[in-house]
């Protein structure tokens, strides 16, 4: 019997667009810009598309918060090799800081969020420093524990409003501000991170992930690089938390909820780890799905977990890498 195998070849268009010929015609330019423009324009148009569905417009905001968290997880896990099981820790810290600035120190909203992002990220980094000189599962373990720990501390000490949370946080001026703050920040962070990981420092970080001994042998302090990476990831996560505190006009222990840890992870796995865009796409799929499944209560988490495990085991590359391959390459059967 004749044996066949599948061969994958780059499309001619793809090869042409790699060099200077990229600007030779509109077709090449469109090939390169198309997907990016589609994403940006599509994301910017979302609030208008759902103009008539007020409920889903709220979902858009949350979706982008999860997209931010997924971006942060993707960066840490696939470019630095640190698995952060506690995305909720970042949102919680960011949210509480923003609420403190806004309510106790009466900062205006647009000052409280950036301040909370930066101080919150510094705080998170400080908390995570003890486990950064280590390799292996330690980081995952400690990040898993922090959200629970902070919930307990806030409950036990009855500080920061205790179980009621901090109420009276200022909201945003109107709905469009609400939408576009988070949308623009997500796009900004996405392209900023893409740049960041492709620069020298990103290369070093990937080195830390793959072979930290060789990075150390090159005279680079591995722990310092990890601290930097955690700070950057915390910035992203804390912004999400701070935004959420103002969106709900409230900061409470539900900012440390399990959802903020598990959905971003699932999104990254579904979207495709290491692509950064995949994190966004994953959360665009999962968060609406979770809204549809809201009637099932905690069964939602079971569904995510099953999807997550299924993707890890059977399709570990994720959707984004699959789509990229289809976009750049064609397949044909050839004789062996």
């Amino acid at each position: 019997m004749e044996q066949m195998r599948k061969e994958r070849i780059d499309r001619g268009l793809k090869v042409r667009t790699e060099g200077l010929y990229a600007i030779s015609s509109y077709r090449e330019i469109l090939y390169l810009m198309g997907p990016r423009l589609l994403l940006i324009v599509g994301v910017l148009a979302l609030p208008f598309i759902f103009e008539l569905a007020p409920y889903w417009k709220r979902v858009i905001n949350i979706m982008f918060v999860y997209a931010l968290l997924a971006l942060s997880f993707d960066f840490l896990a696939n470019y630095v090799g640190l698995v952060c099981l506690g995305g909720a820790f970042l949102t919680g810290v960011g949210g509480y800081f923003s609420a403190i600035y806004n309510v106790y120190l009466s900062f205006p909203t647009y000052l409280a969020i950036p301040c909370a992002t930066i101080t919150g990220a510094a705080f998170c980094t400080l908390c995570l420093i003890p486990c950064l000189p280590l390799r292996g599962v330690y980081f995952a373990i400690v990040t898993l524990m922090y959200p629970l720990l902070f919930t307990r501390i806030i409950e036990a000490l009855d500080i920061l409003g205790g179980t009621n949370g901090i109420t009276g946080v200022d909201g945003f001026a109107n709905q469009y501000v609400e939408h576009y703050i988070i949308i623009l920040v997500v796009i900004g962070f996405l392209f900023a991170m893409r740049r960041f990981v492709n620069q020298d420092i990103g290369l070093v970080l990937r080195g830390v992930k793959d072979n930290d001994q060789s990075v150390r042998a090159s005279g680079i302090d591995v722990t310092r690089m990890k601290i930097l990476a955690v700070f950057v990831a915390s910035l992203i996560g804390c912004f999400g938390g701070a935004y959420m505190a103002h969106l709900y006009m409230w900061a409470g222990i539900s900012l440390f909820a399990l959802d903020f840890s598990i959905i971003p992870i699932a999104s990254v796995v579904i979207g495709g780890g290491g692509t950064l865009v995949g994190a966004l796409i994953g959360s665009f799929i999962l968060v609406p799905l979770s809204e549809i499944l809201r009637a099932f209560g905690t069964f939602r988490i079971v569904i995510y977990c099953i999807i997550l495990t299924g993707f890890i085991v059977f399709k570990s590359e994720g959707l984004m890498i699959f789509m990229q391959r289809k976009y750049h390459q064609f397949e044909r059967w050839v004789k062996v």
Partner: protein
């Protein structure tokens, strides 16, 4: 006296909880984040057998539940973990996801509120040095010590146990001697799950079966294992005594709320001072960059 007695009981409890986790990690290097879920699962199974299938005697229910938990553990390895072995990130995410699926699935399936309790093995209590201790806690101490001893014997004097240790020490050399690595990993996960189920059966009669316990169990197991040195058995027991007494002391002198805080602080201090844990040996080279 109260502190000493309850400290010992608490320590044995902690080491029972964490024994399964440490066993799996030391043998197959899989951080089994589904540990807490298996704990609750087995407690729930016992409850199910007793209350839903009327006439099921308690001891049989216990054995059946532990057996089933072991099977679940083995299946998790055989169908999921085997495909992602060695990819640390995927292992952590997959086991964590399985654990969450089990726990939240149980919560969805109706495991809510304080209505799920298991009967104690023996009612009543006894006075030891003027401290009243109920029989269940005494049984925990006795059975706990018995478990340590039998595990020690099992890993040193039986063929399977020796194979497990061989894989744990040097996987390649053990494979060359004809020990099937995947088979031992399945066995280790089964034993680890059975141990967590065993701990559940012993400990759950003291309280209610609630989902939150699953998360707490996972956290305490991890805390004990990190402090004792991941994968070190002696370290696990020593560390559980450290944390156990620390908790009882905080409970006696400060407040009950801080038990979790103590565990986490202990982890952070250990990571800062001696990252390989109390009894971690060559780990320091391996894990520390």
């Amino acid at each position: 006296m109260h502190i000493i007695i309850y400290g010992i009981i608490n320590s044995i409890t902690l080491s029972l909880i964490s024994l399964g986790f440490t066993l799996v990690y030391s043998i197959s290097r899989v951080p089994n984040f589904a540990h807490g879920a298996l704990y609750i699962l087995s407690g729930y199974l016992v409850w199910l057998f007793i209350n839903k299938f009327a006439g099921f005697p308690y001891p049989f229910a216990i054995i059946a539940a532990i057996g089933l938990t072991a099977v679940v553990g083995a299946l998790i390895y055989r169908f999921i973990l085997i495909r992602i072995r060695g990819m640390e990130i995927s292992e952590i995410i997959a086991t964590y996801a399985i654990g969450l699926a089990i726990l939240e699935g149980l919560r969805w399936g109706g495991l809510r509120g304080g209505t799920f309790t298991l009967p104690t093995f023996m009612a009543g209590s006894v006075n030891l040095f003027d401290v009243s201790v109920d029989y269940q806690r005494l049984i925990i101490v006795g059975v706990g010590i018995l478990t340590f001893v039998s595990l020690y014997v099992f890993t040193r004097y039986t063929k399977i146990g020796l194979a497990l240790r061989g894989i744990a020490q040097d996987e390649r050399a053990a494979m060359m001697l004809g020990i099937n690595s995947d088979m031992t990993a399945i066995v280790s996960l089964a034993i680890g799950s059975a141990l967590s189920g065993f701990a559940a059966v012993l400990l759950l009669p003291l309280g209610n079966i609630v989902v939150e316990t699953g998360y707490n169990v996972l956290i305490f197991a991890i805390a004990v294992c990190v402090i004792g040195g991941l994968g070190s058995w002696g370290g696990t027991i020593v560390a559980s005594f450290v944390i156990g007494f620390a908790q009882i002391l905080t409970e006696a002198f400060i407040s009950t709320h801080y038990q979790m805080v103590v565990a986490l602080l202990a982890i952070i201090v250990t990571l800062l001072v001696k990252p390989s844990g109390i009894f971690g040996k060559q780990k320091e080279l391996e894990e520390r960059v």
